[in-house]
């Protein structure tokens, strides 16, 4: 009764005027909306959680070490480098472009780290700066080729793959491999350094706190503007589920060595890119160009600049990933960045939910996808399988991920979603 009186007393909210739309209120409403969304093909992060669940069951049955805390800590150390590369790939995939040279770029970056820092004795910050500038220049060239000559990025970056690989071999010279000093801060960062436990726990509850804080503030702002706002129950549940999961993860990792700083650095970059993609004009433009480049151009968006920025971010992150990989392996070799690095990074982005067709995806897909890819790779290594089998299995997983992406896309189209 009071509820009804309240409703009559309120003026109608701006976004509740149309009676044809079902409005999902409260927890059950949120769940129902999620169910509808998944059914229509908007899978979001769902395949990742299903995948991770299946992978953990299969591998822990085959080898109990897989789920041991210290193995998971190792997994996180391994994930950071490929994850960074994958984060860059998300940017180019959002535009419907591709960069096939990320592996070579990371290889060149790790070779540069060895040559400039160890052999030439240049201070580490300057070396990393030089590596990042090289990455930006490479991205600039790809963007220029795409914008000026309309060269498909597939071809341009394929040419880049060979060129960069050649440069990597050239600067490494006849020795072929440079060892990084084990006591140096870079290698310690790549192999040993762990966040203090209190910091890990604090960071684990931070996202939940921010969801509650942000949810309440947005709710106030929306109600003040006469718009509907989602109820507190949904926000609280989200925050609670996330916090419990993260705190448990940290607790489990702390039973081993703890959370690596390297993974923390990677996550920080994911958060930064996620903010840029979802909350800034630049991010909105990225999605617009990926969805309909002509429409974006007519809206006054500088499509060429957006493309340039995406290629530059992708190559720079690949270069930084190369530095991380060198730190992890404590060496810069001819093998760095070759083999499956390229496809692992692209597969991670796609598995995480970034579409190969442009216009859909998120920075988080790099983090979640790389966990799946690294879990598979780690599990297969624990089973002592040869790299031939590992390649075949990773290839099959990539194929499945792309098939899921295509099917989901078709389903979205038939359900009237983009």
């Amino acid at each position: 009764m009071t509820q009804e009186q309240n409703n009559i007393g309120l003026t109608q909210q701006l976004d509740r005027a149309d009676s044809r739309v079902r409005h999902d209120e409260g927890l059950t409403g949120a769940l129902r909306a999620f169910y509808d969304q998944v059914r229509s093909g908007d899978l979001g992060m769902l395949p990742v959680f299903v995948g991770l669940f299946l992978i953990s069951i299969v591998f822990s049955v085959l080898n109990p070490v897989f789920l041991a805390p210290n193995n998971l800590v190792n997994l996180l150390f391994d994930a950071a480098a490929v994850g960074l590369i994958s984060l860059g790939v998300v940017c180019v995939l959002l535009l419907g472009e591709i960069d096939l040279s990320i592996g070579s770029m990371s290889g060149l970056a790790s070779a540069m780290t060895g040559v400039l820092w160890v052999n030439a004795g240049i201070a580490l910050p300057f070396t990393i700066a030089a590596v990042l500038v090289t990455g930006m220049l490479v991205g600039l060239v790809y963007g220029f080729l795409r914008n000026r000559f309309e060269m498909p990025s597939f071809v341009a970056t394929l040419a880049g793959l060979l060129t960069l690989l050649g440069m990597q071999l050239y600067i490494l010279g006849p020795t072929g491999s440079i060892n990084l000093p084990f006591t140096s801060p870079l290698v310690r960062f790549g192999q040993i350094l762990i966040m203090p436990a209190w910091l890990s726990y604090m960071l684990a509850v931070l996202p939940g706190a921010m969801i509650i804080f942000g949810g309440i503030r947005t709710g106030q702002k929306r109600r003040a503007a006469n718009l509907s706002a989602s109820g507190l129950s949904v926000t609280l549940t989200k925050a609670l589920v996330l916090s419990v999961a993260l705190v448990f993860a940290v607790y489990y990792l702390e039973k081993g060595r703890g959370v690596p700083w390297m993974f923390g650095a990677f996550t920080l970059l994911v958060v930064v890119l996620n903010y840029a993609l979802t909350r800034t004009k630049w991010g909105r433009s990225m999605f617009a160009v990926g969805g309909n480049a002509e429409a974006a151009r007519r809206s006054g968006i500088n499509v060429k600049a957006i493309r340039l920025s995406a290629f530059m971010i992708c190559s720079s992150l690949a270069a930084l990933g190369g530095v991380f990989a060198a730190a992890r392996l404590a060496s810069a070799s001819q093998q760095a960045g070759t083999g499956d690095v390229n496809l692992n990074a692209i597969a991670a982005a796609v598995i995480g939910g970034t579409s190969l067709f442009g216009g859909r995806g998120s920075a988080w897909s790099a983090l979640l996808g790389v966990l799946v890819i690294m879990a598979i790779s780690n599990g297969l290594t624990l089973l002592n399988l040869s790299s031939s089998l590992r390649y075949m299995i990773t290839g099959a997983v990539l194929a499945i991920a792309v098939v899921v992406d295509s099917l989901a896309r078709r389903s979205r189209a038939s359900h009237g979603r983009a």
Binding site: D15, D18, L227, A288, A295, A296, R412
Partner: protein, 268 residues
């Protein structure tokens, strides 16, 4: 916002084209076009396929540069060398293919390229302005947080028109806004055009459909083979328009009209 210091009154001349010509290689798409658009009036641009309507629209939208002639905007001679410049000056265009991003929601599409506070987008304010604008146009969009892909053709047209109004342009050009729409949706878009005119904008309406044109246009400019072929008022007959468009008074439409007249004469 687009006009700066001058705010045009109803009836002021917003745009005047003089001797506009456009060549594509050996082909003359436009030749010596004259046209005028005033605030608060709907000017229809009609013509057969290949008459040069779309070329003229693209010239005004800054997509193509005219080969010759003068464009006067608010009394000053201007060059429209990019789409961005035309928009900035206050000439908005709704192209036939609408140019919406299907993967983005209505709010994102409305504000595309003009987001409020670019470094920390104000979604709440954008949503409020979106609803206010749509309500002003009495437009029926179920939810502004749905991606464009889930909207009907008429709703998409509405979003496209609303988007062009967001920057408060002086002139809005609509290229075949009703071509793909059903009866009810066409009526809705025509209503929308009248409300846009009543807000004091100048409207240029390109259409194949004579009924639609005569329903809302204040003046009708006919193009034929890239040249002006007459300016009519809304009370021009269908036959007059068809004759001007096809360049002949002798065709099936005029014959049938003549037969009807004869028959009526016989009855009397």
């Amino acid at each position: 916002m687009a006009t700066g210091a001058q705010i045009p009154e109803k009836g002021d001349v917003l745009l005047r084209l003089q001797g506009i010509g456009k060549q594509f290689g050996a082909v003359t798409a436009l030749d010596d076009i004259e046209m005028e658009v005033r605030a608060g009036e709907v000017v229809a641009l009609v013509g057969d396929n290949g008459a040069g309507k779309s070329t003229l629209v693209k010239v005004l939208a800054g997509v193509h540069q005219p080969s010759s002639g003068v464009i006067e905007y608010l009394g000053n001679q201007v060059t429209l060398d990019t789409p961005g410049k035309a928009l900035e000056m206050g000439i908005a265009t709704v192209f036939q293919d609408l140019a919406l991003c299907e993967n983005l929601d209505v709010v994102a599409n409305l504000f595309l390229g003009h987001e409020i506070s670019p470094w920390r987008m104000d979604e709440v304010q954008m949503e409020v302005r979106a609803w206010t604008l749509l309500q002003e146009l009495a437009a029926r969009i179920p939810s502004v947080r749905e991606p464009i892909a889930s909207l009907s053709g008429g709703q998409r047209q509405t979003v496209a028109i609303a988007r062009s109004l967001l920057l408060d342009p002086n002139i809005i050009m609509l290229d075949e806004p009703t071509a793909a729409l059903g009866v009810a949706q066409t009526a809705e878009v025509l209503n929308l055009i009248e409300r846009v005119r009543d807000r004091g904008h100048g409207v240029i309406l390109i259409s194949h459909n004579m009924e639609d044109v005569r329903a809302v246009a204040d003046r009708i400019v006919v193009l034929r083979l890239g040249r002006n072929n007459g300016v009519f008022t809304a009370d021009a007959t269908h036959e007059e328009l068809v004759a001007a468009i096809t360049g002949a008074s002798e065709n099936s439409v005029s014959r049938r009209a003549a037969r009807k007249l004869e028959a009526m004469g016989d009855q009397l």
